[in-house]
């Protein structure tokens, strides 16, 4: 096998091993790359910062365990930002697997900031029909969720007293690894006039740009990078910032592999041309 052939067909196990090391080493030994704030993260931050103490946000955990590594830092940062400023949180999840995550993050953040369940935050739990839930909340929160996650009537929960529809919610924050943020923008935003911002996995974030440019999602966090930027803005470094070193090295490594493949391809083409001559 010619050298260029080897360059063009590196065994996928070598690639996998290199990626594994490129991700693991910077997490163990942080490199401390600087984080530069993007416009969309800044706008997400501005939306949150514009809220006043006592305002209520609807935080939707639109994900489950699989994308936790990328999205938990965002949810944690949003809760820190909200609770530290006296903003109240109504949390829901559109995934069955999101229940455990939401419960854990809400409890941890509430304990840290001394928040009381039912007064400063509530967890309404999981509804199997996400599209129906988004639409129904625009008509009535209490009819959509007659009880919270723990079976308590929402009529007995103080934070829910004056919450009837999206009109009573200052901001909807969707943290999603799927297209659900787009649907929040279309249905809660487009149909019921709710203000929607989102935190998305890097793959899904690409889809948010058209909504962002049209003002339907005025700010969003794109992948771990968005989480790291937001953590920097609220001065609460967490897993987002730590993960950025790993992501930087992994991206550089992927580009190196692509470069090797292309150099191999050019050498192959040159050799072929010479053969033809």
């Amino acid at each position: 096998m010619a050298f260029y052939d080897r360059m063009m067909s590196i065994d996928r196990r070598i690639i996998f091993l290199s990626v594994g090391l490129a991700v693991a080493i910077p997490i163990i030994v942080p490199l401390g790359f600087p984080v530069q704030i993007s416009e969309e993260t800044m706008n997400f931050y501005r939306e949150m910062a514009a809220l006043k103490p006592g305002d209520i946000i609807l935080l939707s955990f639109d994900y489950e365990g699989d994308v936790m590594a990328e999205l938990n830092p965002m949810a944690v940062a949003v809760l820190k930002h909200a609770f530290s400023r006296g903003i109240k949180v109504i949390a829901i999840t559109t995934y069955a697997g999101g229940t455990g995550i939401a419960e854990r993050l809400l409890t941890e953040a509430a304990n840290r900031y001394g928040k009381t369940y039912g007064v400063d935050y509530v967890f309404l739990g999981y509804n199997p029909d996400w599209s129906g839930t988004m639409l129904r909340l625009g008509e009535s929160f209490k009819a959509t969720y007659p009880t919270d996650q723990y079976g308590k009537s929402v009529y007995e929960i103080p934070i829910m007293k004056n919450v009837e529809t999206y009109r009573d919610i200052a901001l909807v924050v969707s943290i999603s690894g799927s297209a659900l943020s787009e649907y929040w923008a279309i249905w809660a935003g487009g149909r019921y006039g709710a203000r929607v911002i989102s935190g998305n996995t890097a793959i899904q974030a690409i889809l948010i740009y058209p909504y962002y440019k049209a003002g339907q999602i005025p700010g969003f966090l794109g992948g771990l990078k968005g989480a790291a930027e937001y953590e920097k803005l609220i001065n609460a470094p967490g897993m987002g910032i730590r993960g950025m070193d790993a992501q930087s090295v992994a991206h550089a490594l992927m580009l190196a592999f692509i470069l090797v493949g292309n150099v191999g391809y050019f050498l192959f083409r040159r050799a072929k041309r010479r053969e033809q001559k």
Binding site: R12, D55, G97, S131, A179, I203, I206
Partner: protein, 393 residues
């Protein structure tokens, strides 16, 4: 009345705060509703920083007047108002100067007063003019969508009618769909099964409907060749429909005995649990052909790369544009967006479905024309373009 006066006196202190201008309130009918709400707007009577909150009070027209406009005690203020026949309609935060009062009757006239809570005083606005909620039958904010919907339905019906009368409607070649026959044939030659994943979404997703449409055509081909078809599902309803479609397709080509309900099965609702199960299935069964049709998310690459590693011929189709790069890089053929929706029409050539597809094309041409027209208008006459934007926005 005597009691009211007594409460008023109680609520006043000897040291009255300096005079302030009461808030000016404006009450209007809420547009586009069923005559059950009124909208109250006001200008803050004080600088926003010195306002704690607002209270909107409502009464039926003809209520006893409350003359005092400044109070110092909230409980006596509330009693004065309640005794005079007023009801607290709602509360607003200091930065919110709009209140929509719902659950009203269209046969009653209402009046409003606004109480502004500042530190140590409550300022009551003047009484609004009486107003009755009005009923609207059409939500005018959706007029543009209504017009577009009517035009689009008319176009679909017209083209379906033309197709029914036998008009020939052209549809361009779609390579991914042309390859289905070859892909099914390959599986038959190799004596291996075909894997068909109808996406991860429920039956109310159009991509899933399209995927099930194509599944019907693939199942017919598989039936003709006598090749086993595996259909793992993430949604139980999609599974039930897929079972029905595969059963009917096998029957349609005279092979009803080939249908095995355990080959069209439910896996799990968990996204990556599903990806793991399907990837495992690919590694164990080594299908010769993999179809990924419908709505996919981040698991698309896990599925397509595993299929690539097993050496299967792969045909994907999705309207999830974020997943297209992954499918394009790891599959042999990829149907992009609408090509997926057109799939069953292309394969079945049913005139009725073809007509609807044509209507779609014309609607798209109109949208492209309108987009180009408005962009040009923005360059030449921006004020007219802005007028159009506002009219349709």
């Amino acid at each position: 009345m005597l009691l009211t006066t007594a409460f008023m006196l109680l609520s006043l202190t000897t040291h009255l705060p300096c005079a302030v201008t009461p808030a000016l309130i404006e009450v209007n009918d809420t547009p586009n509703d069923w005559g059950n709400s009124l909208t109250v707007r006001w200008k803050p009577p004080l600088p926003p920083d010195s306002i704690i909150r607002y209270e909107v009070w409502r009464a039926h027209h003809g209520v006893s007047p409350v003359e005092i406009t400044t109070f110092t005690d909230s409980s006596s203020f509330a009693e004065v108002m309640t005794h005079a026949g007023w009801v607290r309609a709602g509360m607003n935060r200091a930065n919110d100067t709009l209140f929509v009062d719902s659950h009203l009757s269209k046969d009653t006239s209402y009046v409003y007063r606004l109480a502004t809570y500042a530190p140590k005083m409550i300022i009551l606005s003047n009484q609004s003019q009486p107003l009755r909620p009005e009923r609207q039958y059409l939500d005018r904010s959706h007029t543009n969508i209504l017009i577009a919907t009517i035009l689009f339905i008319a176009a679909v019906v017209t083209f379906v009618e033309r197709a029914r009368r036998g008009a020939s409607l052209f549809i361009r070649r779609i390579a991914g769909l042309e390859a289905i026959e070859e892909a099914v044939g390959r599986a038959t030659e190799m004596g291996r099964p075909i894997l068909y994943v109808p996406g991860l979404e429920a039956m109310d997703e159009v991509a899933t409907v399209a995927a099930i449409d194509i599944l019907g055509q693939v199942a017919k081909k598989a039936g003709e060749y006598g090749t086993r078809l595996l259909v793992p599902n993430r949604d139980p309803i999609v599974m039930a429909v897929a079972q029905q479609v595969v059963r009917e397709s096998f029957s349609a080509v005279g092979k009803p005995h080939m249908f095995r309900s355990q080959d069209v099965f439910y896996v799990t609702f968990s996204q990556f649990g599903f990806a793991a199960a399907v990837a495992g299935l690919m590694m164990r069964e080594k299908p010769a052909t993999n179809f990924f049709m419908g709505r996919f998310y981040a698991e698309s690459l896990v599925l397509a790369e595993t299929g690539n590693a097993t050496g299967a011929i792969q045909i994907a189709g999705t309207d999830a544009d974020a997943q297209l790069p992954f499918f394009i890089s790891a599959c042999d053929y990829t149907l992009i967006g609408e090509e997926l929706y057109a799939g069953s029409v292309y394969l079945s050539r049913q005139p009725l479905l073809l007509g609807a597809l044509k209507a779609q094309d014309y609607a798209k041409a109109i949208i492209i024309g309108a987009a180009i027209g408005v962009v040009l208008l923005y360059l030449v006459r921006p004020e007219i373009a802005e007028m159009i934007r506002k009219a349709f926005g």
